[in-house]
């Protein structure tokens, strides 16, 4: 990656992701300020890199588990942070998002990194409720008390409102088109 341009995807709370072009020598702060995600000198937001999948390796016996995704130092360069390998950047107020999933009268909980996709949360939930395999694939997450089923590529951090670091889902069966 000698000086070549790189594409980053910047995710922030309650907003659609943005594309930002950068080069290896640029600091992450410079990228975020240029993209109007951070203001000069702003340090009240956490910045995570990558898409986090730690929950998928959690033991079945663990209840109320928690991810360990550390925020990065935005004064480091794109090259040092190896963003060519981790092009998804998440800027968030929450270090963790408390997720509750309801299914069949039971509830499972985990505190996820905001950099976790809905696809990963869904796979975690299917595993926790022992819905693995082809039969489990028919189950998707729906935000509690709504009919909204987020796309698998959406990130938890984009879905939670700025005032709360928590979200509730029901695990529901996708309907097969009929008629």
């Amino acid at each position: 990656m000698v000086g070549e341009e790189l594409e980053l995807f910047i995710h922030s709370q309650g907003a659609k992701p943005k594309v930002a072009m950068t080069r290896p020598h640029e600091t992450l702060r410079e990228v975020l300020v240029r993209s109007e995600i951070l203001k000069e000198g702003q340090d009240d937001l956490l910045v995570f890199v990558g898409e986090w999948e730690e929950a998928l390796t959690e033991g079945d016996e663990i209840e109320e588990g928690e991810d360990r995704h550390e925020a990065v130092d935005v004064s480091l360069t794109v090259e040092v942070l190896e963003l060519h390998r981790h092009p998804h950047i998440h800027v968030h107020k929450c270090k963790l998002v408390a997720v509750e999933v309801n299914f069949n009268g039971r509830t499972k909980q985990h505190r996820f990194s905001p950099a976790t996709t809905i696809g990963v949360v869904t796979r975690w939930a299917r595993k926790k409720f022992e819905l693995d395999g082809a039969a489990g694939a028919a189950y998707v997450l729906q935000i509690c008390k709504t009919t909204k089923q987020p796309r698998p590529s959406e990130h938890l951090g984009e879905l939670v409102k700025s005032s709360v670091c928590a979200i509730c889902f029901d695990l529901v069966k996708e309907i097969t088109p009929q008629g």
């Binding site: 659609k16 992701p17 092009p87 694939a137 698998p152 590529s153 309907i175 088109p177």
Partner: protein, 164 residues
């Protein structure tokens, strides 16, 4: 000058959601390896990656009619880059009988010219009951081509997808 629906589509193809999926190898606009240039608007040819299955391709092409995008949902079906025509039924992806994959990709309805899914405007117009049964999948102007691609990609990578 491009039409408003075309400008909106082009902007969505440049969006982070579309680009991120393309970078992961999930989907993309068909390139010059299969056609000299994209057909005239409102048609576009895209590809979508599929899970490995014996004797099945690793991607399928679709030809979508995107008239009045995003107000109206796309419509279309699988496309064959070798014949530059609609994909023959025998070469279309199959699903486990009774599964969503099998239903969405069915060929015994409308001569297989559209996806049997609420994100396809031909299918949606004929099924007002879907509005009640599948409210999360009702197309509106907040939906983009990424919703459509992600749905087809999800089916082609499901355990119910059997190959050809």
């Amino acid at each position: 000058m491009d039409k408003p629906d075309q400008r909106l589509f082009d902007a969505d193809v440049a969006s982070a959601e579309f680009r991120a999926g393309a970078l992961k190898g999930y989907w993309g606009l068909a390139g010059t390896d299969v056609l000299a240039e994209q057909p005239a608007w409102p048609a576009r040819i895209l590809w979508i990656a599929a899970a490995p299955r014996e004797k099945a391709p690793d991607r399928y092409y679709v030809r979508l009619d995107l008239s009045e995008y995003r107000t109206d949902a796309p419509t279309g079906t699988f496309w064959n880059p070798n014949t530059t025509a609609t994909l023959e039924f025998g070469l279309r992806p199959k699903g486990r009988p009774g599964s969503r994959v099998a239903m969405v990709f069915r060929t015994d309805w409308e001569n297989g010219r559209a996806f049997y899914h609420p994100y396809d405007r031909v299918a949606a117009k004929g099924h007002s009951d879907w509005l009640r049964d599948q409210p999360s999948l009702i197309w509106d102007s907040d939906h983009t081509i990424v919703h459509h691609l992600e749905e087809i990609h999800s089916l082609l990578n499901s355990g119910d997808y059997l190959g050809l």
